[in-house]
């Protein structure tokens, strides 16, 4: 749906900023695609290239076969009506009521009054603000403002929704409710969503695919579950830092080190998807006459895929232990056995 080809963007000024240094990315239709990176990584510039708010110095943005960078101003405005956008600071018109804010893009598109009336009511119901149409933005909470932003972005029935740090100004609870709303829109309307964020949990909660951006380059991308459970790029590992695949505390690792022998092993088990549902530990205990001691663990969920990580100590006869390890490998569980150094 969206193809980004070798995008470059430099901001001249006292300090020259290379915001994008050759971005290549393909964003498939119907998915929720997250772009994560720290501030200054170039993600804001990247998302603005998609709807032409920023013009890349070099490279192409193809949206549904249309080359965004080559459109005339008039054609660009027409195309933008099919691309909704929501913002970190909502960017609602303070002079307009909730109703009139949502009506704004419809007025721009030249829709008749009666049609606007109907459409706005429908949108406000969808985002759960049916009773707020006469309120002004300053009377709303952050979450409500973002709901108005979403209703406004959906007004012209776009094929694509761009989210620019849409939940970064919200508290965790409100963030969750906004993310749920976005996911519902994605599922019910089949709308493609591209979001940029610096918050890991946002990606984890709703994204299908993720791209990690750093220094204006895409370091890694793919399905969220793959990228987050088996991070390759150092940028990803840094971002993951303390969050999901949390590193095992260094103290614990030191304690383990050197204690492995034939009848005592330590292993890190990573479960993803269906294997997370299987009672592997209890099967081990029942079938292999080994003892399992859980030293550290974490279980989480990515979108609807559960995943977890356990650090276990296993004791038993050497033969039985080997069989147990084999059993674990057969069950689609990623395992890393700690050896004596």
């Amino acid at each position: 749906m969206i193809i980004l080809k070798d995008l470059h963007k430099t901001y001249a000024g006292e300090r020259v900023v290379h915001a994008l240094r050759g971005i290549d990315l393909q964003i498939p239709a119907g998915k929720i695609f997250g772009i994560i990176g720290q501030s200054g990584a170039g993600k804001s510039t990247l998302i603005r290239c998609i709807n032409g708010l920023e013009k890349p110095d070099q490279g192409e943005v193809i949206f549904n076969g249309i080359n965004i960078s080559q459109l005339s101003p008039k054609e660009l405005r027409k195309t933008r009506k099919k691309i909704g956008m929501i913002f970190q600071h909502f960017n609602l018109l303070s002079s307009r009521t909730v109703f009139d804010n949502v009506a704004f893009p419809l007025e721009i598109a030249g829709m008749t009054k009666e049609k606007i009336q109907h459409k706005v009511r429908e949108l406000l119901e969808l985002v759960g603000l049916g009773d707020k149409e006469k309120a002004y933005p300053h009377q709303l909470s952050g979450g409500q403002k973002q709901r108005v932003g979403i209703a406004r972005a959906l007004a012209n029935e776009p094929q694509l929704l761009l989210c620019d740090e849409a939940t970064s100004a919200l508290d965790p609870e409100t963030t969750t409710s906004i993310l749920q709303l976005l996911r519902r829109i994605n599922e019910e309307m089949g709308l493609t969503i591209v979001l940029i964020t610096h918050e890991m949990p946002v990606i984890q909660e709703i994204c299908d695919d993720v791209a990690v951006i750093e220094d204006g380059k895409i370091k890694e991308y793919g399905p969220v579950i793959d990228v987050f459970t088996k991070p390759q790029a150092s940028a990803t590992k840094r971002l993951l830092g303390g969050s999901i695949e949390s590193q095992i505390p260094a103290e614990l690792l030191q304690q383990i080190n050197g204690q492995t022998d034939k009848e005592r092993i330590f292993a890190k088990l990573s479960f993803v998807g269906s294997s997370a549902h299987e009672p592997i530990i209890s099967s081990l205990l029942k079938n292999y006459d080994v003892t399992v001691n859980i030293l550290f663990g974490k279980i989480d969920q990515m979108k609807s895929v559960p995943f977890g990580m356990l650090l276990v100590e296993m004791r038993g006869e050497a033969q039985r232990l080997n069989e147990a390890l084999l059993f674990i490998r057969e069950h689609d569980v990623e395992m890393e056995v700690f050896m004596n150094e």
Binding site: N51, L53, L76, R77, K78, T79, R80, K81, I83, M85, F87, H89, N91, L92, L93, S94, S95, R96, F104, P105, E107, I108, A109, Y136, P137, H138, R152, N156, L162
Partner: protein, 217 residues
């Protein structure tokens, strides 16, 4: 206070209101587009045009730098061309407007610059044209500031109008000079000052009230 003085004060008040009222409305109508142009042609704005912006800004600065009393005399030929005469209340309106236009332009410019750039970006992202952004976003969003700017201009014009006496424009300022100063009539001076103070207070109060009514922040 005898009836003659009441008549004098009343006529002078009417003349001042007439001069200020007409000139503020016309100056606003002519200054507003210039102020808008100053903003939208600025760097990184919706109709960026640095050359036009610099030229406009230069002209506005010239207008702002000429003292009113000099401007009034300097443009007498222009005034005569517009209203057919260079003497009288109507003739005083012309220099008042000319002096107020650059002032209005700058006041409008600063109000419009207060509009959140994010809101303009959102409108652009929705496919709004520059013209739609001006009249659906910039002007409504800046309305409270524009109202206060209008008030500021009116108050300033009350001050300028006092100099209109130089070209026989009449009004309260002229009355204060001719009677209060030149004829040593301290009472006339006192009353005109009272009326001027009340007038300015009223304009400001009205402006503040309207600005508050249109603000939704």
């Amino acid at each position: 206070m005898n009836s003659m003085m009441v008549t004098l004060l009343w006529n002078a008040t009417k003349e001042t209101l007439y001069m200020v009222g007409v000139s503020v409305v016309i100056a606003e109508l002519l200054g507003l587009p210039i102020g808008v142009l100053l903003v939208v042609t600025d760097k990184d704005q919706i109709l960026e045009n640095t050359i036009l912006n610099k030229i406009l800004s230069f002209i506005v600065n010239i207008g702002r730098s000429i003292p009113f009393i000099i401007l009034m005399v300097a443009i007498i030929p222009f005034t005569r061309w517009v209203v057919g005469t260079s003497i009288g209340t109507s003739a005083a309106i012309v220099p008042l407007i000319v002096a107020a236009i650059p002032f209005v332009a700058r006041v409008v410019e600063s109000s419009l610059k207060e509009v959140d750039p994010g809101v303009i970006e959102a409108a652009e992202a929705m496919g709004a044209s520059p013209w739609q952004i001006i009249y659906k976003v910039l002007l409504p969003e800046a309305l409270p500031g524009l109202v206060l700017g209008f008030t500021l201009t009116a108050v300033n014009l009350v001050g300028y109008s006092a100099m209109a006496g130089t070209i026989g424009g009449g009004g309260l300022g002229d009355l204060a000079i001719r009677y209060g100063y030149q004829r040593f009539r301290g009472d006339v001076m006192f009353y005109t000052v009272i009326i001027l103070v009340l007038m300015v207070q009223l304009i400001q109060m009205l402006g503040d009230w309207v600005a508050k009514r249109v603000a939704h922040k």
